[in-house]
């Protein structure tokens, strides 16, 4: 079965309310205490965490997803997508791209994966651009500083 109803990246941008997230967390912790954590509970909680705006929660969510990946072989393909999404939100675009590419290898026609890929690439390019901008700014700053010092010296001599 190919994954047809993966959530799009936008879904991950809509955070849950505190109560909603706490419901999921309570369910998860209850199962942890009983030592009987089901994959679904873990995923629910992980997905809820990833959707949030806080970075540490997103990280926790990604970790939980990684555990699901390790534990349940049959869920691995889905997890690839979610891991990609999670890393994307965290800003780790290369990781996100790795996971996404793995998924696209197996399901080249997956719409959500393709759209995510585009998003990731956009971000990566932007990052590069930012770097370039900053570099130029730095060089400019150095030039200006140098000129100022030179001018000081000139004044001194005169």
């Amino acid at each position: 079965m190919s994954l047809t109803d993966l959530p799009y990246a936008a879904d991950a941008e809509s955070p849950l309310t505190i109560e909603e997230l706490s419901v999921l967390r309570r369910q998860f912790e209850k199962e942890v205490k009983e030592d009987d954590v089901t994959t679904q509970t873990k995923f629910n909680y992980a997905w809820g965490l990833i959707k949030s705006r806080r970075k540490n929660e997103q990280q926790l969510g990604v970790r939980l997803l990684a555990e699901i990946f390790r534990e349940s072989p049959e869920r691995r393909r889905e997890c690839l997508y979610y891991l990609a999404l999670g890393h994307f939100k965290l800003g780790e675009y290369t990781h996100a791209r790795d996971y996404n590419d793995q998924l696209l290898q197996r399901e080249p026609n997956n719409l959500q994966a393709q759209s995510l890929k585009k998003l990731i690439e956009d971000k990566l390019n932007r990052e590069g651009l930012m770097g370039a901008m900053i570099m130029s700014g730095v060089v400019g700053a150095i030039a200006i500083g140098g000129l100022y010092i030179a001018s000081l010296f000139k004044d001194k001599r005169k």
Partner: protein, 627 residues
């Protein structure tokens, strides 16, 4: 920016300059800044730009720089420092993570500050096609709509983000009623799958364990077999060695004995025959008596032997060294019968007394130097110097043999009025039969007679039956006129064989005969019984085997002459019947055979079977043969 151009081999790199920078605005900066935090140093290839950017920034932070760069630095430097710190933590953590790729304990997730590296997860894990009936997100939505209904429903803000396409919703979980069981179903399914996996794992582990144990068992059985074969080898080797040991012992004893030969005046008549240990062969011949040997007994194969002969002497012999220990004097008449225990010897003689001796008091005779001479049987000569080894003066007769009667004598039992013709001594209890036609039971401690059994009275009741059998007392003559030819008792049961050919069974508690076994037609000369059978030999040249319970004759063997003495055990019966040889009857194989060795007809012979030796006496020689 040659650096940026050349270092990143991304396909989209050359195009970045073409892209408009209009999207770059301050509001977006906050979102994009986080992207500056460094990936792991291992992923440097596509990310060198970010690397160099941060590397440039950190040394510059303390410097005052004008312009936008200043604001950038001052505003974002702390963040970038934080990022840098985080990066170090990341790399360190990732390095430890990489060392144990597959194990990722769940309880550590709270303490870690990293997210797992895709390399670890993707490497060596196969990602099969998803076979789950319900995808994770579906389950989530099911749960979520349930939780939404539980809590107050609030409007969710859905930001419009580029690249968003409406998500297709699947499944039939609209109503609240359906969701709850569905959620549980999903959870249950999950649990079942997990349990299944766990069981499979356990099973494979146990199978591996079982295989290992089977292998170990096979190894151990192989070891056991090899050890058992070793044991059998050792067993055979041990048997060989014991044989050799006995052989050597004999040879040593022989040496010693030959050594002694020179010292004793009474030299053996040359015959120190030592044959091999085959059954039925003669080991030793002891000589020393002048007259016919009447009876003998010994206590154990290499212990002490006592012999009594018509020359009025009662001698003790040491069977280990095959030499005479001494003469037991004391009886006033010839000894008719005797029986030996481990330390005691009881003798009954013609002088109507029974004497008890302690033979453990006898030691080897002192060594004396003699000039040995060959003697005739009846003559004795002596040229000797008696070397005194001990302070005690050793009484010796003319032959140099010590009289040890005084040392050994324990008690004399008097009471019979006729010569004591046979006796049996067992466990401190003694019964004797005599020509005064009675049998007496004695108490060994007090020396008093406990019970007297009158045989005549018992005989009178059976005379009629005897005539029927055909017993005529005048036809047979006994050389020694034993009224009571033989007796034996065990516990309270006594069997006696008398001149009338009747074996009577007595109860020692009452002193009455309760049974009579009729069958022999002549006086009984020897008998023995055990739990099952009675074997008796008689002057009528036959040996009869009786069944003890029924009292009937099982078997009869006829010989050429009257049977003089016999002994039996579960396997064989040996007897003497007037010829030169010993008759051996194998009870298990039902075969008769002979043991040769005597040179003169056996007139009197007593044997005691004690494994494995068998002293026989006839005439003047005592022969010990191996049986």
């Amino acid at each position: 920016m040659s650096m940026s151009n050349g270092s990143s081999p991304r396909t989209s790199t050359p195009n970045y300059e073409a892209k408009s920078t209009s999207n770059f605005n301050d509001t977006r900066l906050n979102d994009l800044m986080p992207s500056f935090h460094l990936e792991s140093l291992k992923n440097t290839v596509p990310n060198t730009i970010s690397n160099t950017a941060s590397m440039l920034f950190s040394p510059l932070t303390p410097r005052a720089v004008k312009g936008d760069a200043v604001t950038i630095i001052t505003e974002f430097a702390p963040q970038m420092m934080e990022r840098r710190v985080q990066q170090y933590i990341n790399t360190n953590a990732r390095q430890t993570e990489n060392s144990n790729q597959i194990s990722f304990p769940a309880d550590e997730s709270s303490t870690r500050s990293t997210t797992p590296n895709p390399e670890e997860l993707l490497v060596a894990t196969d990602i099969p096609e998803s076979k789950a009936p319900l995808s994770l997100i579906q389950g989530y939505r099911a749960t979520f709509s349930e939780t939404e209904t539980i809590n107050k429903k609030r409007g969710k803000n859905k930001r419009k983000v580029k690249g968003f396409l409406p998500a297709a919703s699947d499944g039939g979980f609209d109503s609240d009623y359906d969701c709850k069981p569905l959620n549980q179903l999903i959870a249950d399914r999950d649990r079942v799958v997990k349990e299944n996996d766990r069981l499979r794992l356990h099973e494979s582990r146990m199978i591996a364990d079982i295989k290992r144990i089977e292998k170990e068992i096979a190894e151990l059985t192989a070891k056991k077999l090899s050890l058992e074969s070793n044991i059998t080898n050792f067993g055979t080797r041990k048997a060989e060695l014991t044989d050799q040991l006995e052989d050597l012992n004999e040879k040593i004893a022989n040496f010693y004995q030959e050594d002694n030969n020179g010292h004793n005046t009474r030299s053996r008549k040359g015959k120190t025959t030592l044959r091999s240990q085959e059954p039925g062969t003669c080991i030793k011949t002891l000589e020393g008596h002048d007259e016919i040997i009447l009876c003998l007994d010994f206590n154990k194969p290499h212990g002490t032997l006592a012999t009594a002969s018509l020359d009025n002497t009662l001698r003790l012999w040491d069977l280990a060294n095959y030499q005479c220990l001494g003469i037991l004097d004391g009886h006033k008449g010839i000894v008719n019968c005797m029986r030996m225990d481990r330390h005691h010897l009881v003798t009954g003689s013609r002088d109507c007394t029974i004497r008890q001796w302690d033979i453990s008091k006898v030691s080897l005779p002192p060594k004396v130097k003699h000039v040995s001479e060959v003697k005739q049987m009846s003559e004795v000569k002596q040229i000797s110097e008696v070397k005194q080894i001990s302070d005690q003066s050793v009484k010796s007769n003319e032959n140099g043999l010590p009289f040890i009667g005084d040392d050994c004598w324990l008690a004399t039992l008097e009471g019979h009025t006729g010569s004591v013709t046979c006796l049996h001594y067992e466990n401190g209890c003694l019964v004797s039969g005599s020509s005064d036609k009675t049998m007496k039971q004695w108490d060994m401690e007090t020396g008093q007679c406990i019970l007297t059994m009158d045989i005549l009275w018992a005989m009178s009741s059976s005379k009629a039956e005897l005539r029927q059998i055909g017993f005529f007392s005048d036809e047979y003559t006994l050389e020694y006129g034993d009224f009571v030819g033989a007796l034996q008792f065990r516990d309270v049961g006594l069997a006696s064989g008398t001149e009338d050919g009747v074996i009577r069974m007595w109860d020692l508690r009452t002193g009455q005969a309760h049974r009579a076994l009729l069958g022999h037609t002549g006086p009984i000369t020897c008998l023995q019984f055990d739990d099952l059978h009675v074997v008796s030999g008689s002057v009528d040249k036959s040996i009869k085997i009786w069944d003890l319970r029924t009292g009937s004759v099982i078997d009869t063997f006829m010989y050429d002459h009257s049977v003089v003495s016999l002994q039996f055990d579960p396997h064989k019966i040996i007897c003497s019947a007037g010829s030169n040889d010993i008759k051996l009857y194998n009870r298990t194989a039902f075969q008769q055979s002979k043991i040769e060795g005597h040179s003169q007809p056996l007139i009197v012979k007593t044997k005691r079977i004690r494994k494995p030796e068998l002293p026989l006496c006839y005439k003047t020689k005592v022969e010990i043969s191996h049986n």
